[in-house]
């Protein structure tokens, strides 16, 4: 090997070493991000909600315990609500006790935003702050809500609350604010991470299994199969709002 070819070989080895190191460094830098991204986000934030899904919930009142408040507690913890139950306090989900006046049959069930297909709150909102995502989740845009409360007048389920006083110690994922209206979001921050709402998780974790959450448009989803196999109702079905939350056992 002459002097010239030896020099070329050395240069080539240097280049390879440089590329190898560079690739390793780049890989080490990007990989965790890619990995974490893959774990944390099944859907990129800029992708937006998909109209190919419609999130819904089926609540089996026969499995819902009268004294149980697990779903309410989980909701309060997840969304940073105080849990106070005064007339001016926010409640995104509440337990209702109902008694049939003719038969005295008593039942208990959670009541929350029903995430209607035709939500009256969205229809009446003057600024469009009340809105429905493509995947059926009904939300309030906290940046354009003027606090007129017309949506609260219009909601047939009394599902909305008005923030009556300044808030502290908020959950950063669930921004809230004095003077705005708020309601159940189906824990949208969790749903966008492919998790179930906190109430459903708590209900299942405690062994009640009274709540099923899933994609109503996916025939293979647990909720679609359950709805196909069981009779269920919408509350205030007379209003033809096609609610995303349905009840069985009533």
């Amino acid at each position: 090997m002459n002097e010239q070819s030896k020099q070329e070989l050395d240069e080539s080895n240097d280049r390879r070493a440089f590329l190898k190191t560079g690739a390793l460094v780049a890989g080490a830098t990007v990989a965790p991000g890619v990995l974490l991204y893959g774990v944390a986000h099944s859907r990129a934030p800029e992708e937006g909600a998909s109209g190919s899904k419609r999130w819904g919930m089926l609540i089996d009142t026969t499995k819902c315990g009268g004294g149980c408040n697990d779903c309410v507690t989980a909701c309060n913890t997840e969304n940073g609500l105080s849990g106070e139950t005064g007339p001016q306090d926010s409640q995104w989900i509440r337990k209702l006790n109902i008694r049939d006046l003719r038969t005295d049959y008593v039942q208990s069930l959670p009541m929350l935003c029903q995430h209607c297909e035709n939500p009256p709150c969205v229809d009446v909102c003057p600024t469009g702050a009340s809105m429905k995502r493509a995947d059926g989740i009904v939300l309030v845009d906290r940046h354009s809500c003027i606090g007129c409360r017309y949506c609260m007048m219009a909601c047939p389920y009394k599902a909305r609350s008005f923030v009556h006083e300044p808030l502290t110690d908020q959950n950063p994922e669930v921004p809230r604010g004095k003077g705005c209206v708020e309601s159940c979001t189906f824990c949208v921050q969790r749903v966008d991470r492919d998790e179930t709402p906190a109430c459903v998780e708590a209900c299942n974790a405690n062994g009640h299994n009274a709540m099923i959450f899933g994609d109503l448009k996916d025939p293979a989803s647990e909720i679609s199969k359950a709805l196909k196999a069981t009779s269920s109702i919408e509350v205030r079905a007379d209003l033809a709002l096609n609610t995303g939350v349905r009840y069985q056992g009533i």
């Binding site: 139950t85 007339p87 209702l96 006046l101 003027i146 606090g147 409360r149 219009a154 909305r160």
Partner: protein, 405 residues
């Protein structure tokens, strides 16, 4: 300058004018104090809550807004229907309409949870919302009635007063229809959800607006020591009686219709029989004080000597008080009655489901609501002082026309 400002008054009483300004100013300052306090601490200081979401401020606001469109009727009767008596009252009518609307809107805006976002409400419109349409109607009302006033008061533009008057007339009908529909379109609640709301609000606006006009007119005449012509008085009192009768008619039809639907029985029993304050407000306030007594006062047979006593101040004042009661029953009573989620079931929860909700307005709500009246009062006092709003009747022309009208 002061003398120039009071050309329409028989004598210029500056000190009394300043006293009136001070009175209105104090009331408006009270409202501003309430507004800034609520802005800082939130609505936690009010009696409103997650059950009664619209309270006393809304009662004042809607009453003023509805009366605003009604006050314009006097001008409309002059311009659209060509009645001379009302033509000379058209400028006062238009000005009152604007002052009432300004007062009502001030309350509505100051009560918002986020009044700082008013610009959002003015730039983002959801056209499915009747509330958004109302905002368009309110803004348009200011523009159209403002223009109408100019055509009424500027000799060169007088010819335009009829076409602009027509536009203003139809616009005000649209506005009150939209205001009534704010309640009519609420499908969720037993107290609303009726197509009757819109026409009922239109007829009530005729009564409330004319009543406000008559109270202001009577005050101005008395202030200046002028006696209203008996013929004019008779016309206006008969017109008010027709509107009050119309309001009572719609009230009867509204409740009769509800009573025909089994699902509405509970609500009707609540308002008409055992609703406590709401039942009292309905029968004593809306029906008796705002309807029956004014009708008696307006039509009570009088001897020739007593004919001068026409109750042209007392009767319309009672109509306004009755209007307040009606708005209270409609707005607060409609919310106090619980939502029916499960018919045939008794419902309870720690979120006040299934119970009649109680409501006690706090001083802040009274201050806010009265502030709206204060704004209307201030604008009216300044306007009648600065411009020629005092109705001037041409009695010779009236005599000529009386046989034809």
């Amino acid at each position: 300058m002061a003398h120039e400002l009071c050309t329409n008054q028989m004598e210029c009483r500056t000190s009394q004018f300043v006293a009136l300004l001070a009175l209105g100013g104090v009331v408006v300052l009270g409202a501003l104090y309430a507004f800034f306090t609520l802005e800082h601490h939130g609505h936690v200081l009010t009696g409103m809550n997650n059950q009664i979401v619209w309270g006393l401020p809304h009662v004042f606001a809607v009453l003023l807004i509805v009366a605003a469109s009604g006050a314009l009727n006097v001008a409309s009767i002059g311009s659209v229907f060509g009645k001379q008596v009302y033509k000379s009252r058209a400028p006062l009518s238009g000005m009152l309409a604007l002052a009432l609307l300004a007062g009502g809107l001030a309350v509505l805006v100051l009560d918002l949870g986020r009044p700082d976002r008013l610009i959002v409400a003015m730039t983002h419109y959801n056209f499915n919302s009747i509330f958004a349409w109302n905002m368009i109607f309110y803004n348009g009302f200011f523009a159209i009635v403002g223009l109408y006033l100019i055509t009424l008061m500027d000799r060169k533009l007088k010819g335009w007063s009829k076409p602009v008057g027509y536009v203003a007339f139809f616009w005000r009908l649209g506005l009150t229809t939209a205001t009534g529909s704010i309640f009519g379109f609420i499908v969720a609640r037993a107290g609303y959800n009726s197509a009757l709301m819109a026409p009922m609000f239109v007829v009530m606006s005729f009564a409330y607006g004319l009543a406000v006009f008559m109270v202001v007119q009577a005050s101005m005449y008395r202030w200046n020591g002028i006696t209203l012509d008996e013929g004019v008085r008779r016309r206006m009192k008969n017109l008010l009686a027709i509107f009050v009768g119309g309001s009572l008619y719609f009230t009867v039809v509204f409740h009769l219709t509800n009573m025909y639907f089994a699902k509405q029985w509970e609500f009707e029993r609540f308002i008409l029989v055992d609703g406590g304050i709401y039942t009292k407000m309905f029968w004593v306030g809306q029906v008796l004080i705002g309807g029956v007594i004014p009708l008696i006062l307006l039509f009570i047979p009088r001897s020739n000597d007593a004919k001068k006593m026409c109750f042209c101040f007392a009767a319309p004042l009672l109509v306004i008080l009755g209007g307040f009661a009606q708005m209270y029953v409609t707005i607060i009573g409609g919310q106090a009655f619980p939502l029916t989620l499960f018919p045939g079931h008794e419902v309870n929860s720690n979120f006040f489901d299934g119970v009649i909700q109680s409501y006690s307005p706090t001083v802040y709500e009274w201050l806010l609501g009265m502030g709206g009246v204060g704004v209307t009062f201030l604008l009216t006092v300044i306007a009648v002082r600065a411009f020629k709003f005092m109705p001037q009747d041409d009695f010779h022309a009236l005599k000529m026309r009386r046989s034809t009208d």
